[in-house]
Every structure is written in C-alpha cells, then in structure tokens.
Point group: C2
Chain length 462, copies 2
C-alpha cells in the first residue's frame, strides 16, 4: 500500500468537503421534526457507498428509519468484513451553547487539533468516523488494494436505541454473514496514545412520571398539605444512591463482573492525569462510587444518571404552583454480565416502592443494550493492533469504554462474530454536547489505518 499516504494527501480536500456536505444534513433521529432530513441522509450515504466502489447498494426499509446496505464481494472464499456505523445524530440542543450553528460545519484549529477540526453535530459521532470507512474503501477499490470482501450496514436509529436494527438483522442473517465486524464509533486515549476499545457498558434507559393532584394547584392554598410531585420525584431520585454513591436498587450489583486486582492494576497503567481531566470539564473535584478511581468509575462500574428532569413552571419569572406532574429521564450504564432487561425491572420495582401514597408513579422502560467485551487474542483484535502499529508507530492500548453500543452484543448473538472497535475520536471531541468536533488529523489517520486492518485480517485468516 505504498501509495496510500500519497492518495490521501492528493484527495484530502475532497474527503473533507464530502464529509462537510454530509454534516450539513440534520439527521436527528430523536425528533420527528427532522424525519425528512434523516431519510435524505440515508440516500446520501447510499450514493457515497456506490461511488466508493460497492457493486451493490440498497436503502433497506425497516419499521423505523432505513438501513443503508452496501457490499463488494470479490471472492466468496476470502474473509468478509462487515462495517457498521450510523448516519443519525444526537439532538443539537442546547443550541444556544454552540459557538457556530450545529449543522453549518466550520473548521477551526484547537490546542489538541493544530491541523484543524470540523465543528458540527455528528462530526465525530458518527458521520466523521463512519465516512472514514467509505473513503478507505474508495482507496482500496481505486488502487486494487481490497484483499477481502466487505459489507456495509449504516443505520439511522443508533441514538434512539437501534430498535429497527434487531428486526433487520433477524431478517437478513444470510446477507449480513461475515467474519468480523468493524466499527468506528468510539475514541482513543490521545493522538500519540492510540487505543482500541475492548469493553463497552450496557444501558438501561427509562422515563419516569410522578403524578400528584389532578391539576396544578396554588402553592399558597395547598402548599404543605399535598404531596408535591417535584419534591417527591427529587426525594425518590435522591433515594437511588447511598452515601457511598452505590446504587440502592436491590439486586443491581448481583451480576456485576468484579475485576481482579491484577486487572485493575493493568488498567491503571493507561496514561491519565486527574488534573487535566478536571480542568478539561471545569470541575473542582470528581464525584462517584467510593473505592474506585475515575477511570474505573467510568468504565468497569455501573452507574445511574438523570439525563433530564422537568416539572412545574419553568418560564421566566415566578409562578407559585404545585404541578400535577413531574418527569425525569434516567439511564443506567451496565457492566459485563448485567442484563439490561432485568435491571430495568429491578429499577421499576424499587422506584415504585419509593413513592408515598399521595402520588402515582409510572416507569416507562425506553430502550437498552447489553455490555460487551472483546478478547484481545482474537484475530480481529490482532489485525487492528498491527494496523495501528503500522500507522501510529506504536502498539495501541486495550481500553474499556464507559459508553454503550448496545448492538455490539446483538451482533455477537445473532451473527456469531466478534466486533472490533477502532475509534479515532478523542474524549474532548464533545460528542453529545454543544460544539462537537472531529480532528482532521484523526479523520485522515483513520482513513490511513483502516486499509491495513483489511490487509492484516486477511493475512491472519490464511
């Protein structure tokens, strides 16, 4: 692949402008108001795969948003790589905190990205990382460097639970058959500290509703005599953690995979500065489960966070009201062996038990996913490791991520193949936040590294 670097160099402006066009499309899957844009984005991905060299591309209908499928089969006896990614993005709000409009990409230099970074919703998660694979395919097909078969499965509901994906997989096992699944939807430690994600946390996402009186009440006439749904909700949520920040849901920790001292010592070797961690997000101190480090709290330990809460008068000025209802969105991150469906039930039972007689509580399980761990002795991991070594000049560190890609465990269960998570983003890329961005260096480095994965994976399979 001696011409890989020069090919990227010659075409990098086009690679960037193509991605920028994709980022202009507000494919927010969580908000029905954007459904038209989500569908247009699927079409755009189809066209891109076609141009990149797939010899069969299809926008597949599902019960929800379509899944874009593409393939290039050069020899059925050779291994097949299935690339997964998503073309939908998180909602941009709070929009007022963006320095530039979320769907009008701009390139700006930052301390960590001296070559510039593209600022836009989805720049890193996942359009930028997904599109690296499209451009890597383009290189391999244009230069006769594709050593094996490749399939693409790019979905549009990852940010809302990938509900249609399961349906799609169950109905297309044959079409999706593969030897390894490749995903770039995670991050690495730093541009000079490449890492491969070997573990993902599971997720249980629920929405809760607490109802008190049948209408909003005047807090003067009823205050003190009636259960206020907001106060009650606050009290119930406060009751979910104990003083050591352990989650009080009975049975929550029963199946948690406790790491050995050796494993935790190994983890602790990853370069980490608590000071720069705190200053990067502007906090005076970290906060979490007693007895675990910050890295452990955000990777090998389960968590419970309120992602949204609302109730009563939230407009300007003052309104003295006891609202009829209060709501919260709550998510739990799970670790290996925790079953999200079981956890959702345990949560519901416990949460309801916290309610006093004066209110009614409804818990709606939203979606979820199972935790996942990749063995580092698998062929896929070995191939990825060698690819990073080739392009970064050093071995990548295996790393557990705190995030969740629920469908990875689904892939293993239904397609019987392992997933390799080659992420090129940085924690500081602000995915899911205002001013999300993706380094141009990272984008091009990904395009450079991916073809080597194909090369080594094919060789290791011979």
């Amino acid at each position: 692949m001696e011409n890989l670097k020069s090919y990227i160099n010659t075409n990098k402006d086009r690679f960037i402008s193509e991605l920028i066009e994709l980022l202009k499309m507000p494919s927010v899957s969580a908000d029905p108001a954007y459904s038209h844009d989500v569908l247009n984005t699927a079409e755009a991905v189809k066209v891109a795969l076609d141009k990149a060299g797939c010899d069969y591309v299809e926008v597949c209908e599902t019960p929800g948003y379509p899944i874009v499928y593409g393939e290039k089969i050069i020899d059925k006896t050779l291994p097949t790589v299935l690339v997964y990614g998503h073309y939908d993005v998180q909602p941009p709000d709070p929009v007022e905190l963006w320095d530039s409009p979320p769907f009008e990409p701009v390139i700006k230099k930052t301390e960590l990205h001296p070559d510039g970074a593209i600022f836009a919703r989805g720049a890193c998660d996942d359009k930028g990382q997904m599109y690296m694979h499209v451009k890597a395919l383009e290189y391999m097909t244009q230069n006769q460097q594709l050593p094996c078969n490749v399939k693409f499965m790019i979905e549009g509901e990852e940010e809302v639970g990938s509900e249609s994906l399961e349906w799609f997989i169950l109905n297309n096992r044959e079409k999706l058959s593969n030897d390894v699944i490749l995903i770039s939807d995670t991050g690495m430690i730093a541009n000079d500290v490449p890492s491969i994600t070997t573990g993902l946390r599971g997720l249980s996402y629920v929405e809760v509703e607490v109802t008190g009186p049948n209408r909003d009440l005047h807090s003067g006439l009823y205050g003190g005599a009636v259960a206020n749904p907001i106060n009650i909700l606050n009290k119930m949520i406060a009751g979910l953690h104990d003083e050591n920040m352990r989650i009080k849901v009975p049975g929550f920790y029963d199946k948690v995979d406790e790491l050995s001292v050796d494993e935790r010592t190994e983890m602790a070797k990853a370069p980490f500065s608590l000071e720069s961690y705190k200053s990067a997000i502007g906090i005076e101190d970290v906060y979490g489960e007693h007895g675990y480090t910050t890295n452990e709290r955000s990777s090998i330990r389960p968590t419970l966070d309120v992602n949204g809460i609302w109730g009563g008068y939230i407009g300007e000025g003052a309104k003295t009201v006891i609202p009829s209802k209060a709501y919260a969105k709550i998510s739990m991150r799970l670790v290996p062996h925790q079953d999200w469906k079981e956890i959702s039930e345990l949560f519901q039972a416990y949460f309801e038990s916290l309610a006093p007689k004066g209110v009614k509580v409804v818990v709606k399980p939203h979606h979820g996913g199972y935790p996942y761990v990749t063995p580092i002795d698998s062929l896929g991991y070995q191939a990825a490791s060698k690819a990073y070594q080739t392009t970064f000049g050093k071995l990548p560190i295996p790393q557990r991520s705190g995030g969740s890609i629920p469908i990875v465990s689904l892939f293993e269960q239904e397609l019987k193949s392992k997933t390799i998570l080659m992420g090129f983003g940085l924690n500081s890329d602000a995915i899911h936040s205002p001013n999300e961005h993706y380094g141009i260096w990272n984008y091009l480095k990904g395009i450079e590294t991916i073809p080597y994965f194909y090369k080594y994976f094919t060789e290791l399979n011979q």
Copy 2:
C-alpha cells in the same frame, strides 16, 4: 339600599360582558412577551373606573408596570376606603390542559356553580374580584348611595412580587391616605358558608442553579465519575425536609407563631371534609408535616415547595447526557413573625452547604412578603362581618388563608391602616391552574355585599 338587588338584576348582563372583555386581555406580568397587553389592560381599568363614577383617574407610571389610581372624595371629614386589586394574571401554562383557551372566556355551569361560571385566566384572581368593586362603586354613585370617600389602587405586578408597588406607596403616602383598605383577592369556604380571611402567609421565592461540568457531557464516557447537577440538585432538595416533613433549614421555625390548643380547636370548627378535599384534587392521601391537620398545614404552618424544575434533555425520545446545569424555582410560605428576608438568607446558607465540591450553586432570592393577621375586633372586620350577614343571611367565619398577599403587611407598615380581605372566590375556582373560573353568583353576590361594607364602616366610624 332597597334598590341594590334590582339594580344588579337589571344590569347583570352588562356587568358580565364588561368583565369578559377585561378577561380577553392576556395581562401576564411574568412574561415580557405580554407587556403590551399588560399596558392595555391598565388603560382599560382606567376607563372602567372613570365610567363607574370616580372624579379623578390616573394611570401612574412606576419603575415597572403602571398602577391605576382612581378616587371619589365626597367629604374630607368622612372616612376613606382604599380599594386594592390587581389587573395582571398568572401565566396560563400548561395551556394544553385548558378545556377552552385561557383568554377566550366562556360561561359554563358546574356542580358548584349552577348559575354558571366564567372560565378564563384571571376570572377569579383577580380581575373578577377586582371588578366587583368597580361595579359596586357604579351602583353607589348612580344611586347616591356612596356614604364615604373611596380610592382605588389597581396594580399590574401582583403575580410577580409587586415590586413597583412599594416604590409607589413610599412616593404617594398622602394621596393613598385612608381609614381602611379593602381587598377581594381571597376565597370563602363555600357559597353557603361565608368567611373572611383574617390571616395570610408570607412568602419567600428563590431560584437555584446548580452547575457541574462546563459543558454537557456524554453520560457513557463520564457517567459515574462526575457530579451530575440534576442528581445533586435532587439530593439537595430532598435534604430540605426531614422524615416528619419538617423543613431542615436551621432557624426556619425559630420565630414561628405556635397557636394555642384553644386557637387550634376553634379553627377545627370550620366545616371541612377530608374525603371531598381529596376527591376534589384526585389524590389518594394527603401529605405534610406530621402532627398537624390538613387545614393547619395549609394555613398556620410554614411550607417549602418546588414550583418548577428543569435540566438536561427534556425533548422527545432519549439523550444520554450529563447536563452542565440544573435549575429549580422554590417558594416558602411563611407564618406570622417569620421575616421573609431573614428566611431567604437562612435558606441560601443552608442550601449552599448541601452542595458537594463537584458543583457550584447559585441561589437568587426572587421576591417575598410578610405574613399578616387582621384582628376581628377592628371596625373594618366588624363592618365586613355585618355586610356578609346582611347579604348571606349568616355571620361569616374568620379564617386563616394559606395564600400570600405580601403587600398587605406593607400597607400596614407604610399607610398605617388595616386591611380587610373580603374574598368571594372558592378553592375549587382553580386560580393559578388550568380552567380557572369564577362563579357568576359569586361575582354578583360580591357586587351586592360591598356597598353594605361602605355603609356599616361609615356608620361604625360615627
């Protein structure tokens, strides 16, 4: 006043249609978007006072919304009644819970209002009750029945703390001089159980802001390792009450006026059905400070309620975010001898002390007011009592209200006169709630009762 009833009967359709016109004006003082309507409403009140027989009317500029002043001085040696009311209204939201648009008044019969009730924001609080005084004046002037002097002071900031009113009073002590202040901005027990409010709770209204990280974070990557402002806010709010629902702010109860057993026994005589109280607002059980009855909890005891809370993602679907900020609006109802400024400071100190190192807390005192009690042996109370007796055929019951009219204590302090609270609304009128309404019977009964107050008050002063 033998022609009073017939005058009301002859003119009642006009009395109702005039009020309906006033109710069509969305004079929401809390929301700047309505400022134009608030100003128009002030003008409409000026015109109404003029037509009703005032010989001097003025829309007085203030640092905030104007105050409408009107007067009819027939003889400086006679007593002067100062009527206070407000032309501003609470925000209508949640608008979706209204059966008819809040500013398109409709008349509907209800179980408690067989003669019909006007449904609109402000119908009872306070346009309907304020306008009774305008129409009572019309009767007295048209029929040479005004026995004393009268002044009107109708403000536009009652629902947001009456900030300009204090400024206005301090600058117009002479103009506002009076012998008694008359207000209809409270309720009575039932149409067949007239009552006069002799006590009001004070108020301290604050807004709190909890800031964690400097930006919204991905709950997968940071969850468990960083203080989540929503979880922290919930925990802090939960920490404001103990297990007996007593408020934990140190010093909060120090100045609370504890009633004697006799006083509580006297209070308990007021007709009250816990079952109908619960069914009226659709709750299975009441909830409040241990050791006190529902009536005591909502009148003679101080309270703390969250009136609004918001933070994180509150749109449709799911967003896995740890927000940078979470907010709440919190109000405390105070009882005699509690000083709202002191309570606000005690709250702020305690609330800030509940915050862990991982977050920053800001407490903004919003507004407040002092509690108030009217002595039932005052001339004003006696005159009001006789007036009710005349038109309702029975003596009214003196009653402590849980609500707050902060300016009542201000009046006593600055104008040196007592306030009489002749309220004709019912608790079920849903003030501050969707579907606020005011009974037509109550509206007309108020217009009938008020002239007798002037009569008896003048006689008692001779």
